[in-house]
């Protein structure tokens, strides 16, 4: 999924199940690149689910998987890495 700006390949991706997320913020504060943020919208249970962006404040996602390991609700379902 090339990012619109530079047509460069996004080396990694985090898949989020928005309906499972309880907006607990743990992945947001633990992500070294700060790519994850709570969205403005509400999921069915009334929580603000987290959203993934490839480019975070500290740089691009490195598929380190920390979000996968800290998420108490398994809402971070997959961490993918691009294989050329």
């Amino acid at each position: 999924m090339a990012s619109a700006v530079t047509n460069e390949v996004q080396k990694s991706r985090v898949v989020v199940d928005a309906e499972r997320c309880k907006g607990c913020d743990l992945c947001v504060v633990a992500c070294p690149q700060q790519n994850l943020h709570l969205s403005g919208s509400l999921n069915r249970s009334g929580y603000h689910p987290v959203e993934f962006e490839y480019h975070g404040k500290k740089g691009a996602c490195t598929a380190c998987g920390i979000c996968y390991w800290v998420c108490p609700d398994f809402a971070i379902t997959e961490v993918l890495r691009w294989k050329a």
Binding site: K22, G23, Y47, C71, P72
Partner: protein, 266 residues
């Protein structure tokens, strides 16, 4: 994305050892995190087909709803005894329980001690958040001095209720247990930045895998996870991580207490 050769490879993915059912755990609770670590280890060690989970009584009583394994529900505090009964009949099965501090260190301390002392090849994961969660925030044997709870409204007074009990240190005094470990599971604030460190989850994943390996090698394994309960501590989720790091982890410092089989080295 035409013309760019390659594909996305799953580094960390969905686990067949999870049922997929949303959890009832409060937002940000380490019971949920630990459930993931267990599911991952069961999958990685290909144990799912011969695992029996013993549900304790407390917040983890619904663990069978989330872990896709056989399960048996134990009376409050009696999981180690139930596991002993299963394992002695079926030594080929892997049995484990997730117990809260009320379940394991209060009503179930006797069962825990005797199973450990017999070196039963079973695994106990203790979620120690210093309070009774499911029943609404009462004092537990692990409640730190001065903590306000529903049954220590003026702050826990250790002169009349005793000091917090260190289960890991206690079990480590016995000859038989093969693996006794304590991990600070929550994300921990790092003073310099607004960034939180996730070493607890990584160390936790490793400890869960080691605990199962020790059981497969015929030893008793016990991992205590210092955790949080922000709802009953009446704190925000992130404030509770700070409290766990600055207060609870001082009363229950993480560490490796026993590793008779040296699993941490290989």
């Amino acid at each position: 994305m035409i013309g760019i050769e390659g594909h996305y490879e799953v580094k960390l993915g969905p686990l067949p050892t999870l049922t997929g059912k949303p959890t009832h755990y409060c937002a940000g609770c380490e019971h949920g995190t630990l459930t993931r670590l267990i599911a991952y280890a069961l999958h990685e060690l290909d144990l799912r087909e011969r695992t029996v989970l013993v549900d304790s009584v407390g917040c983890s009583v619904l663990a069978h709803e989330y872990l896709n394994v056989d399960a048996i529900q134990s009376p409050h505090g009696r999981a180690p005894a139930v596991m002993t009964g299963i394992k002695r009949m079926r030594p080929d099965l892997l049995v484990f329980a997730v117990q809260g501090d009320g379940d394991a260190v209060s009503i179930g301390l006797s069962e825990l001690i005797y199973a450990a002392n017999r070196g039963e090849p079973i695994t106990v994961f203790l979620v120690n958040n210093g309070i009774y969660g499911m029943t609404g925030g009462q004092m537990a044997p692990t409640t730190p001095e001065g903590m306000v709870t529903m049954t220590s409204p003026h702050g826990r007074d250790i002169a009349t209720t005793g000091a917090p009990i260190d289960a890991s240190k206690l079990l480590a005094t016995f000859e038989a247990p093969a693996y006794v470990k304590r991990v600070l599971l929550p994300v921990t604030p790092t003073p310099a930045t607004d960034f939180y460190n996730a070493r607890g989850s990584i160390e936790g994943a490793r400890s869960v895998r080691n605990a199962f390996r020790v059981q497969e090698m015929g030893g008793f394994s016990f991992v205590e996870f210092v955790s949080t309960c922000n709802v009953n501590w009446k704190m925000s989720i992130l404030k509770s991580k700070q409290y766990a790091t600055e207060v609870l982890a001082k009363v229950f410092p993480p560490g490796l207490f026993k590793d008779k089989f040296g699993v941490e080295k290989r």
